[in-house]
């Protein structure tokens, strides 16, 4: 039915598009405006967060980028990208992007740069690195990375002779979880976590805010679980979005989760609710565990957690009733109080008692495709690493600690030579690492600091050389081989030519390698060559992948779940699931998790709780024009009782001051809400940018990282516990705020 001329035009426009949409895939993903010439769409996988959903980039008839849509077959997104992925074009269109290679001309950190050519930049870096190698050895260089470019710079730095490669996603995020699960099951969780949420009947979230963290596949599966009537139990001092979807919300007193976990274990053991067959067949240390938690009654935990004993019992019984389809979710950002590995051990133990590891509705056995590496000469063997600065501590850390590398950069007694050169790829260390003063001290001790990024960030202001990377929509990157129920690979290819003078990371690394005489480690002219070689080894080709975007493979290894009663080998010391950890015992740590009381805020101070908003990824998206349109600043959540005490009006701007006297650089609006406990405040991470080159993000909201100056280091793996910071409010800006 045509109602107007305009409708008629629209109908006829669609008519032509409709003919193009015969291809069933095109039709399914809703390409209503297929271009008449040239490629209609190109595959990519998203770079806005670590979930890396595969998708298609569409162009309009004029060849302009039009939109990004999820890949139907990708288990990360099932054809549905999250708001950040859907808003990915904002990253490409952001006029504040880094545009040219820049070289520092003034004092470090003063943000005075001159534009240089790529060659000048590479020559400067190569010369500096050569000198450093001669004078101090190659081990004095380090790479901080988050995102795809790490692959190439990693190769470069390994070829150069250093193994100091680190990502803040470990010691500032999921590290304790990995160590705890490796200690218990002999296997970490990795990413995406192999949680079988879509089939679970009971999902337990401890401080994990799925839905606010937009871990796409998990959010989708949680939604499926809700549809199927799964019981959700959420433990959080904040009424999170997930809590609002939960049958049980346990508004726990912050920093007391361990007591609750031990009480749950106590109930499950003492009421004999655990999976007896599973525990007997697969685990070791049950008797020690039973004795260990004998005193951890719900009544004991009530005094600590403020969660009523009957609620603790009822939730424990629900978990056991639905087991093994019960997931006690390990969470992701778990560096809270310094005893995080032990807390995650308790989570792992709980899952073991419920028999959910390796079972449908619990944790499945993930598999990822193996992408062969192109043959290169062997890498040199470094004789020193950042670990030398740790005094023998954190040996159980299975990956490098970003804060450890930072420590090893500050001249210290343990190392005859501290780290002197950093390459920082796609991670805004100023906002990512706690204890900002320490990060800056480390930077001030560097001879060379190279920052690779797409956007000006706080960290780029400290660089000696800034290398502007093109966005993920303008480049090739390594094959994505994420672990899932079945192995998949996904291709990212440029949808458009890079804007400005930006370049892909692979090109930068290769150019640098050539300049430094390390070209043999990058034995190809273009990345396409390498990708095609790799893909052909896997039975496909670059040409096919450009067409299909994503490919699934058959599973090669174990089954998705344990076969009933079949023996299983676990990669622990004992070959069993270690309820009692021999590894921890022999390293001198508690073999079973123990509750430790953590400090609570003093009068007038509130625990700084921080987290995510579904529209943003860390500090990375704070200037994205599409996403700032949805959310352009953070607020500090304050309970109405607290607001009354302070006489706050909703939306009033305040400055935050923490227990160490650090005052936020920018004011933040108060959000008066019942969703937060009276002893805490909450703010979304990633705002309060201090770099004026971010025209939309500068000074919008406040930075939680700036307030995190107190860190409780996890003695087991060196994770930085960041939830022990307390803030108070200033209604007027006082002197003494930290400056960056």
């Amino acid at each position: 039915m045509v109602n107007s001329r305009r409708d008629f035009i629209k109908v006829s426009a669609i008519g032509t598009a409709g003919i193009m949409a015969i291809d069933p895939i095109t039709k399914a993903i809703g390409n209503t405006f297929a271009a008449k010439k040239g490629p209609v769409r190109t595959p990519t996988y998203c770079e806005i967060c670590f979930w890396k959903c595969a998708g298609w980039v569409y162009k309009d008839d004029e060849g302009n980028l039009n939109r990004i849509v999820g890949h139907e077959d990708d288990p990360s997104c099932n054809g549905r990208l999250c708001p950040r992925g859907s808003g990915g074009l904002g990253m490409y269109n952001d006029e504040d992007r880094l545009k040219f290679p820049m070289m520092r001309v003034g004092e470090r950190g003063k943000q005075t740069f001159k534009r240089v050519s790529w060659d000048e930049a590479f020559t400067y870096i190569a010369d500096k690195l050569e000198t450093l190698k001669k004078e101090h050895g190659p081990e004095c260089a380090a790479l901080f990375t988050h995102g795809s470019g790490g692959d190439y710079f990693g190769r470069l730095i390994k070829a150069y002779g250093s193994n100091n490669i680190t990502a803040p996603s470990y010691a500032q995020c999921r590290g304790p979880r990995e160590v705890a699960f490796i200690a218990t099951f002999g296997q970490g969780l990795d990413s995406p976590e192999p949680t079988d949420i879509r089939d679970c009947k009971c999902l337990v979230l401890i401080g994990s805010h799925i839905g606010e963290n937009m871990h796409n596949g998990q959010v989708q599966e949680m939604s499926d679980a809700i549809d199927k009537g799964a019981t959700i139990i959420t433990v959080d001092p904040r009424f999170s979005t997930a809590a609002s979807k939960s049958k049980y919300w346990l508004p726990i007193k912050p920093a007391t989760d361990m007591a609750l976990l031990l009480a749950w274990i106590h109930v499950i053991i003492n009421e004999e609710l655990y999976d007896k067959k599973y525990v007997e067949q697969y685990t070791t240390g049950f008797d020690q565990l039973k004795a260990h938690v004998a005193a951890n009654t719900p009544e004991w935990a009530y005094g600590i957690t403020t969660i009523e004993p009957n609620v603790i019992r009822e939730t424990a019984r629900t978990m056991a009733k639905e087991a093994p389809a019960t997931i006690v979710h390990p969470g992701r950002h778990v560096t809270w109080y310094g005893d995080d590995t032990q807390r995650l051990r308790a989570v792992a133990i709980l899952n073991a008692l419920l028999g959910s590891w390796g079972r449908r509705g619990g944790f499945y056995n993930p598999e990822k495709a193996k992408v062969p590496a192109i043959p290169t000469p062997e890498y040199p063997h470094p004789t020193r690493t950042w670990r030398d600065a740790m005094g023998g501590k954190y040996e159980l850390a299975d990956l490098a600690l970003a804060n450890g590398v930072c420590t090893a950069t500050i001249p210290n007694a343990q190392m005859d030579c501290h780290i002197r050169a950093w390459i920082v790829n796609g991670t805004n260390l100023i906002e990512t690492l706690p204890e900002r003063h320490k990060t800056i001290e480390a930077i001030q001790n560097l001879d060379l600091m190279v920052v690779v990024d797409t956007m000006p960030m706080e960290i780029t202001g400290w660089a000696d050389i800034i290398l502007p990377e093109c966005t993920y929509l303008e480049r090739y990157d390594s094959i994505r081989a994420s672990q899932y129920r079945e192995p998949t690979i996904a291709l990212r290819m440029p949808a458009v030519q890079p804007k400005y003078e930006t370049k892909p990371a692979w090109w930068m690394a290769k150019q640098l390698a050539d300049k430094m005489g390390l070209g043999a480690y990058f034995p190809y002219k273009t990345h396409e060559e390498e990708l095609d070689w790799q893909l052909k080894q896997m039975g496909t080709s670059l040409e096919e992948m450009q067409r299909v975007g994503l490919k699934k493979f058959e599973r090669h290894y174990d089954d998705l779940y344990f076969k009933e009663g079949e023996p299983q080998e676990f990669l622990t010391d004992s070959g069993k699931i270690e309820l009692y950890s021999n590894t921890f015992a022999s390293a001198g740590f508690d073999p079973l998790p123990v509750y430790t009381a953590h400090p609570q805020p003093e009068d007038g101070f509130y625990r700084l709780n921080y987290g995510r908003a579904p529209m943003h990824t860390f500090t990375r998206t704070a200037n994205n024009p599409v996403l700032t349109d949805i959310m352009d600043e953070n607020t500090v959540w304050v309970n109405p009782k607290v607001a009354k005490l302070w006489g706050f009006a909703n939306g009033q701007k305040v400055w935050l001051k923490n227990q160490d006297g650090v005052v936020s650089s920018f004011p933040i609006a108060v959000r008066i809400t019942e969703r937060i406990r009276w002893d805490s405040v909450f703010m979304v991470h990633g705002f309060g940018h201090a770099n004026k080159l971010l025209t939309r993000a500068y000074g919008r909201g406040a930075s939680d990282s700036e307030m995190i100056t107190h860190v409780d280091i996890d003695p087991i793996m060196g994770g930085t516990g960041m939830r022990g910071n307390f803030v108070t409010f200033l209604t007027e800006k006082a002197e003494g705020g930290a400056k960056v």
Partner: protein
């Protein structure tokens, strides 16, 4: 044919992907939106309830906007979709004033704009952009007169409400509660 949409408030997490997808699909200028997400919290800590709602034009059966439009720019299209004909709209804002849901805005070009249920996609057999992208799959769309449509099926089994039915507009945006 009677198009309608149902949004499951028990699944919606308020991520606003629907808004971003709509802006891309319909070239909505930055700073404006055809749909938006509301979060309502009720109660006192810790006795709380929260509802997330993705809202947009309700495509009312008794639309005050269509009634008050002096030029007929606002009109009913097939399936009860309420549309605005850009070059008939004089920008008098009467429809904006008449809408109890505040679902309309003035496009920078001067005419009034709003959700169209992505009529251009519907004609191609596709779901509206917001529905197709929602990560929680909390949106259901279809023909109310077709008992087998997603929306009919979910409304049959789930308790639901409409917003301000007492305004008498007969809205066709349903919220599953």
């Amino acid at each position: 044919m009677r198009y309608a949409m149902a949004i499951d408030t028990k699944k919606c997490v308020g991520c606003s992907d629907c808004v971003v997808a709509c802006q891309a699909e319909n070239n909505v200028p930055i700073g404006f939106c055809r749909d938006w997400v509301v979060e309502v919290t009720d109660g006192t800590y810790p006795e709380l309830e929260l509802e997330n709602r993705s809202e947009r034009c309700n495509h009312c059966e008794n639309s005050p906007c269509v009634r008050c439009c002096p030029t007929g720019a606002s009109h009913y299209a097939e399936g009860g979709i309420v549309l605005v004909t850009e070059d008939k709209c004089i920008g008098c804002s009467a429809c904006i004033t008449s809408c109890p849901y505040d679902a309309r805005y003035v496009h920078p070009k001067g005419y009034v704009d709003k959700c169209t249920f992505c009529v251009q996609r519907l004609k191609n057999g596709l779901k509206p952009a917001c529905v197709s992208v929602c990560p929680t799959k909390c949106m259901y769309f279809g023909d109310l007169e077709d008992p087998n449509s997603d929306v009919s099926k979910v409304l049959k089994t789930r308790k639901h409400k409409t917003l301000i039915p007492e305004a008498g507009t007969k809205p066709h945006l349903y919220f599953l509660i």
